[in-house]
Symmetry: C2
Subunit: 210 residues, 2 copies
DNA sequence: ATTTGTGAACGCATTCACAGCT
DNA sequence: AGCTGTGAATGCGTTCACAAAT
């Protein structure tokens, strides 16, 4: 069966809620409780989870630690995903030290840049900045790494091409452009201008509150 | 007529393409050319634009400078939106200096923090860090500002509440949580963990390439 | 009594296809 | 001939509603 992307994104939200609940010592949870915290419909939660199997107990709900482990497995967070960041500017530096990127199954293994004067320097967090040419050496042929693109729009396509050539199959793009990737590679865009501009549209007053 | 949010987000993409084309000296453009650059269907582009009026000429296409100006107007980018960033950590600092946030009708008017030892300090870009209590004084009652939340999940709700109390009606949240807002306030979430985790799911191989 | 799992109904965005202009 | 504008068709995710299970 083919899973829609929206579902995988919500799984990630559910996981966060479950982690919180587990930390709080809660043992079972209902779909409506999860839904509430994620601002969703309870049926949505159940349908999402049931795509992967029947993890709940009728009349009771879901066992928090079990469901948490299941979702971690589904998302592949038990496999130590390596993360590579290209672009050691302000944003790249911030992402390199971002807690969420160095926890929960992720490990930022290197920061790269194309600018010669940055190479050999260290990031604010003390990580060495590598030359992008050393990409292949560092990630080797083990593949299954995630590439983060935090360079200006003008060099985004080039960086994406290099990442793909180095065997990276999943890319998170922060550059304000839409680089192309070959079939079979997944690219996702975090477009800060789009977010800001669509909020501006909302302020203009023509819309339903989004 | 009520405009879906996806449409406003695409308008932002179209605007970027049009700006590029104008800089390149191109005078007219067809829907298929815009669509190509945004990885969309041409009919999608035409339908989006036609929601706001008939800006094109049959047999010819759209006049680049005219359409650009129209979209800027629709998005309200001709009104100098003031942006407030709360959270002077790595991410807040990076966002404060992000070119896209200080261009195209946006102006970062202040960086705030809740931590007492940060207040009075300067950001890496040389901006002063204000106490969040001074929020109301700084943005006054002119309203129509956009608030950016770049604090840990634990204080996100509190910060959102303060922003709303200060008259902010549009919020961009980078914290890994889903703070609640009253009716009429727009909040959008940029959730880096969700992005990364859904890419991890893709690498697990169960999905269509997204 | 409570909550899951799911087929059916619904709503909505995307895409098609063609009439209408230039 | 070429391209826009748009009603109709399609596709798909969301929500409803209820049978099934404890």
């Amino acid at each position: 069966m083919t899973i829609p992307e929206v579902t995988t994104r919500r799984l990630s939200l559910y996981l966060r809620v479950l982690t919180d609940l587990q930390d709080a010592g809660v043992s079972t949870v209902s779909s409506s409780r999860i839904a509430e915290r994620c601002d969703l419909n309870p049926a949505q939660v159940r349908k999402d989870l049931s795509r992967f199997g029947g993890f709940g107990t009728r009349g009771v709900g879901y066992k928090v630690p079990d469901l948490r482990a299941v979702i971690e497995g589904i998302l592949g967070l038990d496999r130590g995903r390596r993360v590579i960041i290209v672009g050691a500017g302000n944003l790249g530096n911030a992402l390199g030290d971002y807690p969420g990127f160095n926890r929960g199954g992720f490990d930022v293994v290197g920061l790269f840049d194309v600018l010669p004067d940055k190479i050999g320097q260290k990031t604010r967090g003390g990580r060495p900045i590598h030359a992008i040419d050393d990409l292949v050496d560092l990630i080797g042929d083990r593949g299954a790494a995630i590439g983060i693109v935090a360079v200006p729009a003008t060099s985004a396509q080039e960086v994406v091409d290099r990442l793909v050539a180095a065997g990276v199959r999943a890319i998170l793009n922060f550059a304000p452009s839409r680089p192309r990737v070959p079939e079979g590679i997944s690219i996702r865009h975090v477009d800060l201008s789009v977010e800001l501009e669509s909020l501006s549209f909302f302020l203009s007053g023509r819309v339903r509150a989004g």
